[in-house]
Amino acid sequence: MFEEASEVFDNMFKSSFPLTFIVFIPAVLILVSPLPAEAAHEFTVYRMQQYDLQGQPYGTRNAILNTEARTVEAEVLSRRCVIMRLADFSYEKYQKALRQSAGAVVIILPGNMSAMPQDIVQQFMELEPEMLATETIVPVYFAMEDDELLSIYTQTLTSSSSQGSLSAAEVLLHTATANGFQMVTSGAQSKAISDWAITSLEGRLAGVGGEDLPTIVVVAHYDSFGVAPWLSYGADSNGSGVSMLLELARLFSKLYTYKRTHAGYNLLFFASGGGKFNYQGTKRCTTYLDHALLQDNVAFVLCLDTLGNGDSLHLHVSKPPKEGTPQYSLLKELELVVASQYPEVKFSMVHKKINLADDMLAWEHERFGIRRLPAFTLSHLPSHRLAQRSSIMDVRPHVDVKKLGRNTKVVAEALARVIYNLTEKGAPGDLQIFTEQMVQEEQLSAVVDWLTAQPRAAQLVDKDSSVVSTLEYYLGRYLKDVKRHYVKADKRDPEFVFYDQLKQTMNAYRVKPAIFDLLLAVCIAAYLGMMYLHGGSHTRSNKTVSCLSAELRCPVQCPLNQHFVFFSLRTHFFPPKIKKL
């Protein structure tokens, strides 16, 4: 058999050079040339959250996408990439796509989120936790809208929606004119990030007078959370809390530099990481006994969470404080300050017991509550379930610096009154310890601006990131003993696992359906066939009319062969009757 084959090849080489050309050159080309990729449009997409918490998977489990785009209006969605705009997004549509086993979902977010109608924003905010609640097999991506993407969407929409009621001819025409889009992501499959360290920062101000001074701990977590990590800017939650923490650190560091205002309380400021993942940063610091926090004589722990908006303040406690304890006095001072200086603010205490059966802790203070440390959380939100705390819609305009400044002032005043024991000393309620100028709104606003300038999802803030180092620097300016704490998940039984490939480049390639290629092939075959028949009949007629002089043979007329129109012209120019022979 092989001999025969080699014979064939030998003959091919010897006899017909063109054949070798036709056979071998394409073969070589096929072997060497890679498939080129020249994208119609290239854009950045942000993948939905993917993480495991306490062994429970959440979010999308897939990152690879290479399917054709459809909108949700199309009849068949299976193995297609469903693209939706935020304006048309609803949970039913999302569920429909997933039920029909779509290949992927791409949600297009408007470039200017704050220009969206409030009800759509609110609706999406409430859907975010639902989308994350269970694991999704297919990749879910978010993209920012631009003109190109919008045109891709509209073209897909027209081709998806109108297929049902057309005649065959219209469908054929449609396949020739309409564009399909093949969506392709460039990245690899997502995999778990090993040895991810969550960083927390602490700094302290030492009190004066005596060895065993009580310590007041102020805590705020700095990470943000949303349906897509790269889009979570977390302005109100918890950029506002961190900026208040930094402002408090600045104010009290000033007081603690003067001998006369140096109080008998240690102050510990703690910017915790992983707050949106069950307060991992705080957990570590309360679990490990070597940490100074538990050795100290803790007066109370004040957690700051979501304080940049609203006209109410809620003190969330897991156990109502008893009279005579420092926490009780803080509660009373807060009430007093709010009542006498800011009557427009509604202050209330919200009591919620720690539910240990729940997967997630409600507020950060519950981490301390479990360790029997007196703790509470201050927030303008009445409940921990509210969607504002974990939404990509929580962007810079959600923080009102004026209200943040006012809240900061309230907390600072109340803390100062506790530290200096002013009520017992008979100071009136409207005594202002910090003047208006001392709480600097520019400072707060600058910190919030900086925090919301980059996404701060826990998966993105590693120990070398600028967020951590800038925070550390900032704390170091006002506080002593600024330290970092790292939390790593246990290797064998990890409490949290993060995954990579959260930001990818997606290409939309313009494609045509396979039927289009077939149609094209038929058309080309018809065109070539016509040409061949024409040319063939032409030569044949020449042969039959052998009297036709050589001069008038087809080489001359070859330009004619190209087009059918010329054929009739030929008879005009070349009357078959030849005079000369």
Partner: protein
Amino acid sequence: MTLFHFGNCFALAYFPYFITYKCSGLSEYNAFWRCVQAGATYLFVQLCKMLFLATFFPTWEGGAGVYDFVGEFMKATVDLADLLGLHLVMSRNAGKGEYKIMVAAMGWATAELVMSRCLPLWVGARGIEFDWKYIQMSFDSNISLVHYIAMAAVVWMFTRYDLPKSFRLPVTVLLALCVYKAFLMELFVHVFLMGSWTVLLVKAVLTGAISLCSLFLFVTLVHSN
């Protein structure tokens, strides 16, 4: 898009050449090697043109969107070398006029097809992205086949000693049209801002007109002898 799409484009671009070769009777003359020689001459002439252009026409760094009329005209003038090349090929081949013309034109056009369209087709039409331009390119190769046959015919007529006086002017005009066709097309595109399909149509019409005229002249010339 797919290999199938490449096959489509390839068939559209190459089969007319094949059909022309077979049906024009060139295959009966066993003219394959002559065509290859013509192709080699094409390569040589293109190389010379490129060297010439690179040496004497520095890249024009005008503002974007501004059309360098004179520069483009001068560059188009360099295409006169094509005429010389075609003449060279035809003068080296002994035979009847139409045989000479067909060999030169086929070799010339095929060489151009292989050199300037084969690779873009292979790279472009096979990619994921669909674009009409590869189909257009294939059509364009059909048009250029007609163009080169007409051009060769005009060159052949021009170089004949027994060309009647009355033929001299139209042949010269056609020659100029053949050389400056690309330049004219560019000018049209620039002035009328045409879409790619319109450009193709205009090109086809222009080429058709030129080839009809040259055919008419050729037939009359051959008849008159």
